[in-house]
């Protein structure tokens, strides 16, 4: 399966040390581009690839952006002040700062951080949209740093063939389940949840599901009945499943036609109580 040239990734950013992207301390690669368009997306600038329209070049306060001879946007990391005015300017849910990164370059950075890591997580955007890159990155990590685990953080909207491709080099995945009810899912995500449910079932069956995340928004996808059904469905695959209950927060989210509210601490605890009644889950409430 080794390719002559590993597939490069379109990468939004990397974080050397993260305590919130899987077990232990992890190196996280965020890929650019997502096949969902969630109303509650916390990093909407990762949804689309840049189309080189050039609007952000004019608003950049530090002169770090430009257009090259062929009309592509250039970004100078050294000059960039990190103001993210470019992201605020972009009308297309993108960023001029995503760049193609080769597996070798990423591996160099992972190598440096390796003494401090439990593993590597590819997040997004949607990691499985660049499955070839993820596979090649993980294969390289496994070959050189076998002590590190390789995780994918995904929206679950990927076909079985993608999971099959990743299976030999991926230790586990963390899957977001926006809503068990397909009607509500379509309203919140503009897509069906059929593939997501199938991915959860498949990964749980293979013992490769690290956790399922439920992002809950009051009045949208948090009714007791819906949560209880979600709990029962998850428990049918693994009664001790690790389930992370995440209360919606406004930070980073686009203005929305759907009124979105943040659940209180009491509401979040209530969600956990409802799920607990269905099964003895390993529950994490955030």
């Amino acid at each position: 399966m080794t390719l002559a040239t590993p597939v490069a990734g379109l990468v939004t950013d990397v974080i050397e040390f993260s305590a919130v992207d899987g077990p232990g301390n992890r190196f996280v690669v965020f890929t650019q581009g997502c096949n969902f368009n969630c109303v509650a997306c916390h990093n909407p600038y990762t949804i689309n690839p840049c189309i080189d329209c050039g609007l952000c070049v004019d608003t950049c306060p530090s002169g770090a952006l430009g257009l090259d001879a062929s009309g592509h946007i250039t970004w100078d990391a050294a000059t960039c002040s990190g103001s993210d005015v470019c992201i605020a300017t972009c009308p297309y849910d993108s960023t001029p700062k995503a760049r193609a990164m080769a597996v070798d370059a990423l591996l160099g950075r992972i190598r440096r951080a390796a003494p401090f890591l439990s593993g590597v997580t590819v997040s997004g955007g949607e990691a499985t949209q660049q499955a070839g890159f993820v596979r090649d990155l993980f294969a390289a990590v496994k070959a050189e740093l076998p002590g590190l685990t390789c995780f994918v953080d995904s929206n679950g909207a990927a076909p079985v063939s993608t999971w099959d491709l990743l299976d030999p080099v991926m230790d586990a995945a963390m899957i977001d389940l926006k809503c068990l009810d397909d009607g509500i899912h379509r309203r919140l995500v503009q897509a069906s949840n059929a593939e997501v449910l199938e991915s959860i079932r498949l990964l749980a069956g293979r013992g490769k599901l690290h956790e399922v995340r439920l992002l809950l928004m009051p009045g949208q996808n948090d009714s007791d009945d819906l949560l209880a059904r979600t709990g029962a469905w998850l428990a049918s695959m693994d009664p001790r499943m690790r389930v992370k209950v995440i209360g919606f927060r406004h930070h980073g989210v686009r203005p929305s036609a759907v009124p979105l509210l943040e659940p209180s601490a009491e509401q979040r605890e209530h969600y956990a109580d409802v799920l607990r009644r269905e099964s003895d889950f390993e529950l994490v409430v955030v």
């Binding site: 919130v20 301390n25 951080a113 439990s118």
Partner: protein
């Protein structure tokens, strides 16, 4: 002297005990200073070199690390104490002994490796709840009777019932005293480190130290005392003298190379001379080792002591040297050349200290131990030890990479404090990964604190934020809080990216 004493006795902010200790310091400082050469006296007056305001005539070593294991085995004749046979007797025995252990702070800076000392006294049928209750009483006693954040206990590197109970008691009591260090070896179970990490979340303690590195420097009988000073058990440090690198470079004309070749030998010699004068005064004039029961009963041995040679203000020194290279914007912690100059200066000091023999310093093989001195409340505009300035620290990985290479040189302790945000609370194993990595790449000590913590480390010791409020008017129960209040204002440590404590004693103010 008269007016100083007046101010102390009439103060409304000091308790009785604190007045008594301060009056003793005034009397000490009324005595003549040990003889110094004119150059050393002048450098001391200008505070290029510094004696930490230990007092004019040392009558106790600065840090004393009694061999508590030996005391428990043989009893203490001076205190008419028989060797204990039960856990209750052992706790009582130690509490009494602590009351007689001197140090520069007037409180014991070392309480022992408590898990190793107490584990043999814990009956296998004693339920955890009862063990916790006994240690909880002991812990409250320590905090109330020895109210100083430099009072320090060690645990690890092995797991056991006592160390697990200590974490539980710590998390439930949330006290300043005692300061704590967990010795970490590759064999220390992850789960024990994770339990300690959860304790940091609650109390800002313990420090995590590199057990194999310490054993290589000091042998298996070592301990971390006061803030983060690593020394030999049954030994200690006569004194701590320190060199202000910011002031030293200000008195030198020339670049980094000439500073290392010409200036540093001069200042290191003057600092060593100051230390030697204080050691001779302590050992030969005041005769501590001839008269104190800890020495006469073999609980400390003179040849396991040495001098601590501290440096501080490295960051300002490097920035000045970079300005002289025409690069005033090159910052320590961020610029490759600045980092290289920092390491060059530190290695040169280490080399010079390793070439300057000192009397009565058998603990260091006849030489001083190097120490990255984290500052006192009076240090204005001077960065603690070899740290990167507060608020200007790079990302954690880079911070560790810049700091780690020189940690091995500081046998008597070095500390860089790392700040982490609250999200790590849900994932203590992430901190276990970072601690393991930091020690594996050569850090001697790894200390971290949470943004949100009620406990903050000032330079090496802990205070509770709530204890600092209203200090001027009402006084504080912990003597170290006075140092913290002024250090807090001077160092703006509560706004920095990392919260780390300092070691301070009696301030001359």
């Amino acid at each position: 002297m008269h007016s100083q004493a007046e101010a102390i006795v009439t103060s409304r902010a000091f308790g009785y005990d604190q007045k008594l200790r301060r009056l003793a310091a005034v009397a000490d400082n009324a005595l003549p200073y040990p003889a110094l050469s004119p150059l050393a006296a002048e450098a001391l007056e200008a505070r290029v070199i510094c004696d930490m305001y230990e007092g004019n005539r040392p009558y106790t070593p600065r840090y004393v690390l009694p061999d508590y294991a030996k005391a428990l085995r043989q009893g203490v004749a001076y205190l008419e104490l028989e060797p204990p046979t039960t856990l209750d007797d052992a706790l009582s025995f130690l509490t009494i002994l602590y009351s007689q252990v001197p140090s520069v702070t007037t409180y014991p800076v070392y309480l022992g490796d408590l898990d190793a000392l107490l584990e043999p006294f814990v009956p296998s049928d004693l339920p955890d709840a009862e063990l916790d209750a006994k240690l909880r009483r002991f812990w409250i006693q320590l905090d109330r009777m020895l109210p100083d954040a430099f009072v320090h206990a060690n645990v690890g590197p092995s797991d056991g019932r006592v160390v697990r109970s200590i974490w539980r008691v710590e998390r439930s009591l949330r006290q300043v005293v005692p300061n704590l260090t967990l010795k970490v070896s590759p064999q220390t179970p992850d789960d024990l480190i994770a339990d300690a990490v959860r304790t940091v979340f609650e109390t800002g303690k313990p420090h995590f130290v590199n057990h194999p590195m310490m054993v290589a420097d000091h042998g298996t009988e070592y301990a971390v005392v006061s803030c983060y000073n690593s020394l030999k058990v049954r030994g200690g440090a006569h004194s701590l003298v320190r060199l202000n690198l910011k002031e030293a470079v200000a008195r030198h004309v020339g670049d980094a190379d000439s500073f290392c070749v010409e200036a540093l030998p001069h200042w290191v010699e003057l600092t060593a001379e100051l230390g030697e004068a204080r050691i001779r005064s302590l050992v030969e004039e005041q005769g501590f080792f001839e008269s104190n029961f800890l020495a006469t009963e073999g609980l400390v041995e003179l040849d396991r002591f040495s001098l601590m040679f501290g440096i501080f203000g490295l960051a300002e020194c490097v920035h000045e040297l970079m300005a002289r290279e025409g690069r005033p914007d090159a910052r320590y912690g961020h610029d490759e050349r600045a980092n290289a100059v920092a390491h060059q200066v530190v290695r040169r000091v280490a080399e010079l200290v390793g070439e300057r023999p000192l009397p009565y310093c058998g603990g260091g093989g006849g030489f001083a131990y190097l120490h990255s001195q984290s500052g006192i409340d009076l240090d204005l505009d001077t960065t603690a030890g070899t740290r990167i300035p507060v608020g200007d620290e790079p990302g954690m990985l880079e911070h560790i990479e810049v700091s780690a290479p020189v940690h091995e040189l500081f046998a008597a302790g070095i500390s860089d404090i790392f700040h982490v945000d609250d999200t790590v609370k849900r994932n203590p194993e992430a901190m276990v990964d970072v601690i393991r990595g930091a020690l594996a790449v050569g850090m001697r000590d790894f200390t971290f604190n949470l943004d949100s913590n009620e406990f903050i480390r000032i330079t090496g010791y802990l205070v509770r934020k709530s204890d600092l409020v209203g200090l001027e008017e009402h006084g504080a129960r912990h003597s170290s809080d006075y140092l913290a209040a002024t250090a807090e204002i001077n160092h703006t440590v509560t706004t920095r990216a990392i919260k780390r404590v300092i070691a301070a004693e009696l301030s001359p103010k």
